[in-house]
Symmetry: C2
Subunit: 237 residues, 2 copies
DNA sequence: TAATAGTATTTCTAATCAGTACCACTATAG
DNA sequence: CTATAGTGGTACTGATTAGAAATACTATTA
């Protein structure tokens, strides 16, 4: 995600994002100036600046001509955070309680939802988590793993030898990139493949039989690794 | 902001939001069922459910027919929060530094930007803040005022007698709803009117002369109030 | 044959954006 | 003094796209 996309994600249009960046590099300017410097058509430059003002990303400098000045990024981000918190509050206390029934087998499709679920499993784990992932995937969730270690969780990695994360128990195993195997708290598992958005699909399960099967498979894998090689235990600190 | 709008604000479409709520009240369902129960056209019900799955708000229950189950609200909110933090991080460390020049007089138009600026002034104040607002406006920013009191700021309210916020210094003054007068740290002021979006416009200023004028005006107002009435000082706790 | 499950296509609207035309004002070169 | 270039601003048109309503079509099952 680049800067422009991030600005679009918080509610600006593409042109507004462009103009916001332009306002940061220059003195306050009129729509005319903004149009000239950005290449955006005059009409759209004016409406873009007005849009920025409406969304709290720019303010007006009144005078003989109407100029706009950018609201500094930190302040704009504070606005957005405040707004986001309100939105989340509305959702969290407005949503009806989930019916208790939880299906034992769920399919999660698409790259992003899988990564989100993976991070959430690590974040929600209470005692321990086993991660059978290639180095590429470990890299994407490194902050979450580190937070889990700080929370005092037992974190076991089955991944390539060159990965080093303090506080984790590490078994060297060459994993195929994109293949995912996770167990959290001996109660939920996720497994499947993670490539681009279309070809990514994972099974998430709470089914006790499957979880047990998975646990034993991972335990066996670890046993075989320790028979071959020695354990690399990276101590905390 | 209602629930559906909040869900739309985090990236769902109106139909997806509707379907997400429906999924919460029922067992997992197919597009066919969702269409029947929501009144949404079949085609759109299917694409809506697929959209929810893509956005991490629903998961698939594989079987003879494809059913979708809602991801529980708390989990979906965690996804959104994670995503939002990433976006803010991109903006905050991607934005070029603001040029130091800050115009002395700025116009802030529109209801929302004004309220955001008001909250931000309170949040960013270092020592003291004077708020000349009607009870209606005080109500909107109550949490921010309470946080300021907790931060140990001197918070002075010039507002109607019935407003009660612990830890603030309160002078009873009947204010016209929509009229705003604020000074923060004796260095910045905001004043203007706040009604509906079109008719709302405020001046924000760092100009020392104007700030001083404003301070004296408020001091005089307080002096007159205390000559007439007695001070209501609500002690903390 | 009715209900279930799923797909495809058409139409409509609104937002975004590119492009252009037009008007008013000011400064200045000839 | 006038012509013209530059500045500041508004209005309109057209293309593209996402979202959504509506309908039609196929296939399977009870």
């Amino acid at each position: 995600m680049n800067l422009t996309e991030a600005l679009i994600a918080v509610g600006l249009t593409r042109l507004e994002a462009q103009l916001y960046l332009l306002l940061h590099s220059e003195e306050p300017m009129t729509g005319y100036e903004a149009s000239k410097q950005s290449g955006i058509s005059r009409s759209n430059a004016y409406s873009g600046l007005a849009g920025l003002a409406e969304k709290g990303a720019a303010v007006c400098v009144e005078g003989p001509v109407r100029q706009y000045s950018a609201v500094e990024a930190a302040e704009f981000c504070r606005y957005q955070s405040r707004r986001f918190k309100e939105i989340i509050a509305v959702i969290e206390d407005g949503m009806p309680e989930q019916r208790p029934a939880r299906e034992p087998f769920l399919t999660i499709s698409g790259r992003d939802p899988i990564i989100q679920k993976l991070k959430d499993m690590i974040g929600q784990a209470k005692q321990r988590i086993y991660l059978g992932l290639a180095a590429r995937e470990i890299g994407m969730i490194r902050p979450e793993i580190e937070t889990a270690v700080e929370r005092g969780l037992k974190v076991v990695l089955l991944t390539s030898a060159d990965v080093q994360i303090a506080g984790t128990i590490h078994y060297a195993a060459e994993k195929v990139p994109g293949q995912i195997r996770v167990i959290a708290d001996s109660s939920v598992i996720m497994t499947g493949t993670l490539h681009d958005d279309q070809t990514s699909s994972c099974l998430f399960s709470r089914d006790q039989a499957l979880v047990t099967l998975f646990k034993e498979a991972m335990a066996n894998e670890i046993k075989l690794i320790t028979m071959d090689q020695q354990i690399t235990h990276v101590d905390r600190d």
